[in-house]
Amino acid sequence: MTVKVSLPYDKDYVSNFSQGLNEPDWMTSLRLNALDKAESLEMPKPDKTNIKDWNFTEFKHHVEGEAINSIQDLPEQMLNLLDQDKEQQNLILQRNHSVAFSNLDSSLEEQGVIFTDIQTAIRDHSDLVEKYYMTEAVHVDEHRLTALHAALMNGGIFLYVPKNVTIKEPLQTIFWQEDPEAALVNHVLVVAEENSSVTYVENYTSDNKEEKTSANTITEVFAKAGAKVSFGAVDNFEAGTTVYANRRGVTDRDAVIEWALGLMNEGNTVSENITHLIGDNSQSQAKTVTIGRGAQKQNFTANITHFGKGSDGYILQHGVMKDKSSGIFNGIGKIEHGASKSNAEQESRVLMLSKDARGDANPILLIDEDDVTAGHAASVGRVDPMQLFYLMSRGISKFEAERLIIHGFLAPVVNQLPIEAVKQQLRQLIERKVY
């Protein structure tokens, strides 16, 4: 028997919200169906983390954000996320639930690249969005949070790269939860057509240490045959925001999706990053780094599932746990029957900086095919005293030696982020959280 739950927003609200945005009928009915399902669906059950009492229902659903005229008017906190010496920024700034600033290189527009907020995309490119929106990668009815997301989606990005278009400069989005109680229910949809190539980086940021809200974000990335998508993210919600972040990818033949995720939230977080390697010879690298502190509870799942022959997956999860924080790291490499000559590798490492912290690395290989290769490495431990001895024997202080080791431990994601400013920001976040 399923238990009906009371949801924070009802049918009338959702229906009015959708109409207010002039959404096409398919979207309105998708929302209403999802709301209906949300009432009866179960919450997700991340392994070893009980999220029963986490706040996914108390928040403000719609908050306007003021537009800005030029990048220079941004507060410093946001300016620091941009490579300011660049003349052209391919940038969208979402402030609460409004687009405050947006710019795309005109030559990219001429080539048919679409880089816009999701609501504009739903109106202007309705068929394209409808085709991919929660149809293949993430489904509405997976659990209550996916359904709630579909019902209440209130922001996000649509990025479309036409066939054979290679975009050299990274495209960047900043999601700024300015209002301390605003809930970002963002949907990011990336479609890279055949033989295209794009690098996308997103930043989430908020200031709400005390005020409670939640974020329920879903990302769907489609890399068509021969396409390459590099996806970088630095999530940095403050402690008041409870986060459910779901990032999924689907690759066709010879396609590549590279994830570099710096998950630096201060509040309780469930993060899922799943890639389906559908096409033959497709590849994904999924790298995640994180730091837990205070009494924060976090659960990270990275999953690469192989369907295509000769597909190649590599998962890296590195976490630093301090104070009384707890972090569960699930790395899942799955090879389906028929995905011969595939390779599933993974590495999960947790560095414990205090005796009260908890870190679990759970490497899982699920293999239904004989002719494959797979491997995993997992470790949970303290800073290696031999590494400390080595560095200190060169005159480096204990403090500085630990600092080098920790930065080095988190470097796999830092180094992969393509925007220098975002790299710097992640380094600073690491510095601030560890010390």
Binding site: Y390, M392, S393, K398, L410
Partner: protein, 261 residues
Amino acid sequence: MAGSTLEIKDLHVEIEGQEILKGVNLTVKGGEFHAVMGPNGTGKSTLASAIMGHPKFEVTQGQVLLDGEDVLEMEVDERAQAGLFLAMQYPSEISGVTNSDFLRSSINAHREEGDEISLMKFIKEMDAAMDTLDMDKNMAQRYLNEGFSGGEKKRNEILQLMMIQPAIAILDEIDSGLDIDALKVVAKGINEMRSENFGCLTITHYQRLLNYITPDKVHVMMQGRVVKSGGPELAERLEAEGYDWIKQELGIEDETISQKA
């Protein structure tokens, strides 16, 4: 000013309750090259590690002084800043930290705040040292010792030695695992360090290293003590005749550190 002096006096060291060093006495002065030789399991590497402050070794008795200062009271980084250096037999691998960032931090740790080495000067010095050691320049940007071959690790230890320019260096089996060409290159780097202001204690159980790095003094360790000292001719006799004659001379049956019952 002539170089520094490292004095080791009646040093006793334990690991996990077992005594390894049982009263070592040795003095190394600036300008001198000493070799400590001996069969496996006689305490040579323990001596090297204990002087530097390896966390697993406990000094139970004796003194180590650098220019009269009590080394054993210092933290490991303070020992290095005071002028000691240990080229390790098994250097740690540290992922995510580039060799060059590490080297620069090490050099700056030996300098006052505000007097950090300039990037240009650093690169110039590193390039020159890498040339001497016949090292691929890409090694500077690789992560510290990660995936380095045995020979690359040893060269990298000597690169650090040349860049940091310590007063007294201890080289722990720097020759192990090196082929003859690599051995010559490593020896070249060490020989470039020779000066009034540099003293060196080389630990090895092969005489062949000493063909390239001529020692001023040779010491033989057995049973956790220095049992015989002499000049370079001692190393040559060991090469020709092995260690048995010393054991006979001193009435030693088992030269290793006896295991506890």
